[in-house]
Every structure is written in C-alpha cells, then in structure tokens.
Amino acid sequence: MLNKKNKTYYICVFFFCLFVLFLYGPTFTIVLLSFQGPDGGLTFPLNGVSIYWFEELWRGGSVVDIGSAFKRSIILGLIVMVLTVLLSVSAGLAFRKKFWGSDMLFFATVASLIVPSIVLSLGVALQFRLLDDFTKWLGSTFDINYINEFFQTSLGMFTSGLGAQLTWTLPFGLLIMFAVFNRFDKSYEEAARDLGASPWKTFKEIVFPLIAPSIIGIALFGFTLSYDELARSSQVMGAGNTLPLELKGLTTTVTTPVIYALGTVTTFVSFSVIGISIVCYIWLKRNKG
C-alpha cells in the first residue's frame, strides 16, 4: 500500500489545504467586506464594521428590485426542485428495466449536460418565439378575441424558464438515481412481492424508505442549481429576471459593497439549504437502521 506519513503524504495534505483555501477564500473575503461601515469601498482595508450595506440592500436604494427577484428565484427553485425529484425518481424507476427509447433518453440526458448552455437557451427562446407567432396567427385567422386582446408572449419564468432549467437539473437527478439503483439490493423488494404486496405498496413501504436519503440529494441539486442558474436562463425568462440574472447586470453597474451584501445573502441561502439537506440526509440514514 502507499505508505502514509511520508513526505508525499504531507505534500498532498498541504496541497489539498491550499486548494480548499482557493475554493473558499475569495467568498470569505466578500462576506468580510459586506460588513463594512458606510464609507466602505470595494477593496480592503475594512472601513469600520456595520450592517449598513445590508440595510441599504433591504431599502433597495441604488439597486433594482432585488426583493422580488429574490422571491421569484426561491419560488422557481422550489418548483424546479419538486419537479426534478418527481421526474427523475420516476424515470430512475423506469430505467431499471430496458424500455422502448431508453438508450435515446440516456443519450439525451448526457448530451444535455454538455451542450453549450447558450445554444440551448437560444433554442428554447426561438421555440417560444415561434409559438408566439403561431398563437397570434391563430388569433387573427380565427378571430379569437381573447388572444387578440390579451396574448403577448408565452415566454416566461414558469414556461420556458422552468423548462430550460429542468434540462440542467434533471440529468443530475437521473444520474444520482442510477448510482442508487446500481447499489440497490433487490432482495427486499422481491421478498415484499412474494408476500403479496402490490407494486405501489412495495414502492411505498420498501423502495422509497431505502432511497429517501438520495432523494434529499436530488432535491438539493434541483434547488441549488436552479437558484444559481444563469447561462441557460439568460434568454428565456421573459419579463421577470431571476436573482442571478439581476446580479450579473449589477456587476457592471454597482460600485458599492451593496453587491457584496447581496452576495453574502445569497451565499447564506445556499449554505443553509446545503446544511439542511445534509442534516436531513444523516437523519434519514440513521432512522433507516
């Protein structure tokens, strides 16, 4: 075996620590800088300590309507999370046996992870634009009052935006399900079936409790990836922007630590979600045994 505690071991430990510092250090600096006093700037040294910039953020002073973007992002994230769990768990169950088109679907799943996001975003935007044109054509040709008066666009956060984000979160969900079912002991299920349990009952009583911790993982991916998604969402959100899109706009216009305060808040939300997920995961794992 590779002998421990030799020189290479310590070099590796050192290297790993440097890497972790590299990962977290910058985020830590902006958290630090967001707690500056009112005279603070974008760089060090710290000018006093206060929560002035958080109050500024709350008031919405120099910044666009962050509050509603924040709310929109959370709601969309929750919807994406629920759909990611439902769709990838059911697809994961389906994939345990070969079915018609399963190879194609697997290919699409992997392809969706590596297709450039801007291309997908463009494609979805084009699709909804054509859909709009078609709807308007229908309205004028068949004289449908409702369309002619009220219809503007089908592009929106909960139509095209939701779909585009799902193409990013679902592959992670399905791949997690693959990992779960690869290590899954089928004998419990067979025992239940032999004892006369219906497929639904087998799923509810046996399979679901066993995969529940992994479902937490899928939910975590669903929410956080949607909450921070930017590239795929960039062309398809319609009128209301999500938080990352607003944030991207702010990088070029805002020159006060208010942007760091916003960064601290969103990072705090992400870390809370991650923390809750990890606690739930451990709790479910413990309870199973």
Binding site: L2, V273, I274
Partner: protein, 294 residues
Amino acid sequence: MIKFWKIKPSVGLLSIPYSFVFIFFFFIPLVLTLIISFWDYNEYSIIPDFILENYIYIFKDCFNYEKDMCVTFKTYLSTFIFCFITWFFTLIIGFFVAYFLAFYVNSITWQIVLFLLCTIPFWTSNVIRMISWIPLLGRNGLVNDFLLYIGLTDTPQEWLLYSGFSIVLAFVHLYTLFMIVPIFNSMMRIDKSIIEAAYDNGANGLQILWNVIIPLCKPGIVIGSIFVITVVMGDFITIGIMGGQQIPSIGKIIYVEMSYLQLPAAAANAVILLALTLLIIWIMTKMIDIRKEL
C-alpha cells in the same frame, strides 16, 4: 384478440414526463436552431427561407489570406486557448485532489467530509464566486497590496483583473470540481491489490502513479475533460465578467446577436459551436472505449 385491460402497465411508462421535458425543451429547440439558421431576417421578424447568408457572413474574409485573420477565427482561436489552459490546470489540480482523497484519506467518513468540502461551492452562485475575486485582484486589491509591500513592483499590476489571467483563474476556480468527481470515481474503482502488487514488485510511488493509476483513471480523466472543455467552449458569462466585457468569445457573439434580434445569425453561430463541441467530444471518446468502461 388481445384484451387490453389484461396488459400490465409497463414500468417504462414512468419515464414519460421525463422524456417530455427532453423532447420539448432539448430536442425540438436544437432542431429549430438548425432550421432557423437557414432563415432570413429583418429588424422586426424572422422570415422562413433557405439561405446560406448567415453562414457565409460568419466566414466572410476568413479565406482571404492577404488580410489579417478574420474575427471568427480569432474568436475561436482565443476560445481554444482558454480551453487548453483551463483544461491543463483543472486536470493537474483535479487529479491531485482526487488522488489525495482516494489514496491518502483512509476513513470513509473523512473521505465523504472532504469530498463534500470540495463539492459545496458547486451549489453556490457562480457570479458571486466570480466577483469575489475583485477585492483580491483589483487595482487596490490584496494581491497588489502584497506585491507593493514586499517591493516586487512599484506600481499596481493591471493584468491581474479583467484579463486573460483572471478569466482562466475563474474557470479553474469554478470548474476543477468537474475533474475531481469523475477522476475520484475512477480511482475508487481501482482494486487496491493491484497497487499492492506493483509495490511488492518493487515499483516506486512515481512508477505506480504513472504506470498503474493514471492508465486506470483514463475514463475519469476523459469524462472530466469533456465537461471542462465544453463548458469553456460555450461560455459567455465568465469571460464577460472576468474579462471586463472586453474579451470576445463565441458564446458572447451569440448573446450579442440575440440582443439585436438577429436570431438566424445567432442560430448559425450556435450550430457551428455545437458541431465543433460534438467533434471535440467525438475525438475524445475515441481515446477510451466508453462501452467497456460503463
């Protein structure tokens, strides 16, 4: 006669909602992009047609060797350079982080904890992780302060931020995880007795690394490389923010054309980008027998 009520519902039907998302939000949009790249357009609308102008425009002046290199080739060249440098650094760092986790951390609990530590940033905002470099690399940033303090330079260095350097740094910062996960996965599958056998036969650490571990990690390395290269190829956000909106990229061309509603032109660029990305993936998968690795 088949009695339909006797056919058991197949479990495969459970994949229908999932398939629906991929048909409606993945397959159809990509096909439409290909179709619309041949359409005509004016300031207000896109016009169904079959023209090659969108493609011809992209390569205008590209095959005129008396002039300088055309914008398109320049942009692709710059993107390829970013791809290569990012790939190189993420591979080296990702490999050694995975190597440490897989072979030097013996307790499973610690392995999970440290692995999570590397993964957590992936679940936080990319934009925040990008702008968090500003207080470090900016004109009055910590790095410049330090360089001035130790007297290595007497003027603040401008190339640290909004430059090729900061772009690569941000890419490495954001995407090394894409290397760590598949390589770590490959390493965990290596039978430890193979390494012991090599060791017993007198191989030293470096020989084991080069002749045993790296060849066995090849699938992980290829998968990680595909992720990193494709994500850099299509990027427009990192290059935009970290390059101070001054450095071109293919993703950015598409983005700008879309904002001017030149949709068929954007579609043509997207088709070329997608074709190139697929070509690169195809070449890379030739290096491993994917079916054998699954």
